[in-house]
Amino acid sequence: MAAAANSSASAAGAGGGSAAAAGLKTYFKTPEGRYKLQYEKTHSAAVLHYNHGGKTVSQLTVAYLKEKPAGQGSTPSTPSSSSGMRSAAARLLGSGNGNRTLSFVGGNGVSRAVSGSSRIGGGLGTSGGIGSSQAVANYDGKGTYIIFNTADTLFISDLNSQDKDPIKSIHFSNSNPLCHAFDPEAKEGHDLIIGMGLFNVTEATIARFWKEACCGPTLQQGRCTSVAWVPEREGIFVVSHSDGNLYVYDKCKDGNTECTFPAIKDPAQLMISHAKSSKSNPIARWHVCQGSINAISFSPDGAYLATVGRDGYLRVFDFSKEQLIFGGKSYYGALLCCTWSSDGKYLLTGGEDDLVWSMDDRKIVAWGEGHNSWVSGVSFDSYWSPPNSDGTGENTVYRFGSVGQDTQLLLWDLALDEIAVPLRHPSSGSPTFSSGSPSAHWDNACLPTGVLQPSPRMRDVPKLSPLVAHRVHVDPLSGLVFTNESILTICREGLIKIWVRPDQNENNHQSNSSELVLGNPVSKDRVITTSNKATGSSFKQSSAVVFT
């Protein structure tokens, strides 16, 4: 904690005030320079008036909106706005600037209301009455927006404005939005799906909610844990639930047809069933595991789907073949999050303590040790490039970040050819990384397809130490996102901080961030900052990852 407790905050960043008050630094150092707190985004505190008992889930995504060609949106009644965002917002929010107001039925969240433009909303999200939709006139379509859900509200904020408050909010009165996914590639405007859950209700109520808001009576109880669009597959999305089920939906289909899936005989076994009727939506149910699926993630090409869950297993499926490719158990308990590298070669998982870094050869590659509590979000920094890289050659250093319930953001570098292989280990079957070409080994893998591996033994896995550990919020964190200009972190309570990347000419960081040459760190400034935390002995003081 020593690294964090410093009340002398510098004046960097517009949002430094409240951070300083909480004893948080407004910058952190990396080998390539300082990341500075640029500004914060939040929402009216009223949202958090209730005691959520630690259950609040906040999720953050960044939406890049391009100017959409005219005529987007198949529904004639969609406001003829040139702005995709406005359109999306109009669809979603029913804001007053169009003639389409989403009609909501109160009471039990019956949301058969929105046909046409919001079919998905009809299926999943827009149940419940819109309580407040703070319309702000001043936003135009093109640009980068932050979408985040926290407590019972979904917010949209302009990433590049210094305005702290969101420009839009959708309040859900019956249930809480728990997760969402945005599809920038959708041909018809910008589709957003929102996964819902209910707090403090009996299972029966959840079931009823699902019955009415979703589709047939067969949907199992269990709140929604994660939603994702399938890349490269227009209109197909996947929703995971806390009962171990995963449903595949087609947004083009009506969400209200009767559909039945066979009963699950053995909850511990994988079972994939398709809807009998071609009309029904969801079109398929995958029963993946016993207990909750905590997160899902598609490989960038949409070919593979990774799931992590309460049972501690990472599973990777060939999505179109509906086949388990491989999987493995965490060392500690449940896994909470997972993500792919942008080249689809590696997977990160995080969970109940520490961070396991796995993939490629269908095995664990490294183990990131550095968090003091559970890891709640992981992400690769695909905008970062190693120093002195000329853009050719293979990228053998990966940068990734993780955030945890210890309120810290950690950054890591994984140098594939320099990964420390533990000593005293018999050479056979050791999970050493095969250096050289880190090309995918899907086809000549050392393990047969579909095999789940047991927990690794700690001494068998190469350890990785973080480059930087920085306490970024006062509350446990729930996610992070890398953008070209910055790192975004969000805490459980829905406060977002934007950490602008190091600038080559230090003093220019606020005025014109878009002009920065990014991912080109100052190579002289090579401070390998290891955090001096109380976990002393187990924490390697010398970083295992060194730049070449």
Binding site: Y331, G333, E352, S373, M458, V474, S537
Partner: protein, 366 residues
């Protein structure tokens, strides 16, 4: 009450575990510390089974004077032999005995559940050891002076020569080893200590695994606090660390939420958010074996201070989670556990915090 218990039966329906009883315990005025511990111990199945076995074997003697052991065994047997599946029981005899035995628990004041657990387990050990001694050497005078009645710290009793392990030992006892390495001569001195629970210092927004790491982290003894090295025959700087030599079957973890604050001159409750997993890997063992434990009970302290408040327990029985609050027993969900992690900020109001965690070894089961 009746309505509540029938609701529980209804909620479980056909899934009501065969032969299992879910009974609330009456509160005799601030005895929730006792009730919550008793429930956790009752649902510690190996402990319950051995105690009931003991009760069955010793019932015949009949005329033995009541003690904590017989009272506890009697209570457990009473619960397990109820005709009804749910209801409320008054642990009257047990409480009376406890108050007679130990003046600390005599008052109607709020008591510390950990202190009580400690007292109870040590008391049981004393009685059992005495009994086995009486059996082994019947001529020996059995009027041995009792150990101090106060809450004794078992961890210091390690050097005592051990007789046959009692049922308490079999369930709860583990061995810690204290490795001290003299920085001058490099000699490593091992000293073993037994324990019934691990008391962990806690930090804000941390996890149990992180607290366990801290517990086993290397500490340097220097300056005022040097180590007397037998080989060097003098005080030397040394490095010390604690590791688990023999992990217990039932791992009881006590979070040190009550901390003495010198400036205030009193104890203060730390509501820190400390996350604990349903499945725990015990990492700080001597032989680096990866031992897995599963959470089966959580004692929760409700309230903002050490001198008042309430205790409740969450218990896992036959894969269902149950919520015990004195007389009340309710079905709950696994996800309920995470509402007792604590609060991420000091004044954010959540004062229902996990205080004592009971984990059972998964190795034992297979």
């Amino acid at each position: 009450m009746g309505a509540a218990s029938s609701r529980l039966e209804k909620a479980l329906g056909e899934q009501f575990p065969e032969g299992e009883r879910y009974f609330g315990l009456e509160n005799f005025g601030n005895t929730c510390y006792c009730n919550s511990v008793l429930q956790a111990l009752y649902f510690c199945v190996p402990f319950r089974e051995q105690l009931l076995e003991y009760y069955a074997n010793n019932k015949s003697t009949g005329d033995v004077e009541d003690n904590m052991l017989t009272c506890l065994a009697d209570l457990f047997s009473q619960i397990s032999n109820q005709k009804k599946k749910t209801g409320v029981i008054a642990p009257k005899r047990f409480i009376q005995r406890l108050k007679k035995q130990n003046e600390i628990f005599r008052s109607y004041m709020h008591q510390d559940a950990h202190e009580f657990l400690n007292f109870l387990l040590n008391e049981l050990v004393d009685i059992l050891e005495k009994e086995s001694k009486v059996v082994a050497e019947p001529c020996e005078n059995s009027s041995l002076k009792k150990n101090s009645n106060g809450p004794i710290n078992v961890q210091l009793n390690g050097t005592k020569k051990e007789p046959v392990p009692t049922l308490v030992h079999k369930c709860f006892q583990g061995i810690l080893t204290n490795e001290t390495r003299c920085l001058r001569c490099e000699t490593v001195t091992d000293r073993d200590e037994t324990f019934f629970d691990l008391s962990l210092d806690i930090e804000q927004n941390s996890s149990i695994t992180s607290c366990l790491k801290n517990f086993s982290s290397t500490e340097t003894l220097n300056a005022e606090d040097k180590f007397f090295c037998d080989k060097c025959c003098s005080l030397q700087e040394a490095q010390k660390r604690m590791k688990i030599k023999k992990p217990p079957n039932i791992l009881v973890i006590h979070l040190k939420r009550f901390k003495y604050i010198e400036q205030l001159g009193r104890y203060k409750k730390l509501s820190y958010r400390v996350v604990f997993p349903l499945e725990l890997k015990l990492i700080n063992t001597v032989d680096n074996s990866d031992l897995e434990y599963s959470l089966f009970a959580v004692l929760v302290h409700v309230g903002s201070g050490p001198n008042h408040g309430h205790y409740i327990s969450l218990v896992k029985s036959h894969n269902h989670w149950l919520f015990f609050d004195d007389e009340n027993v309710e079905m709950t969900d696994e996800s309920m556990v995470q509402t007792f992690f604590g609060s991420a900020q000091e004044f954010s109001g959540n004062t229902d915090n996990g205080y004592i965690l009971f984990y059972e070894s998964l190795a034992e089961k297979s």
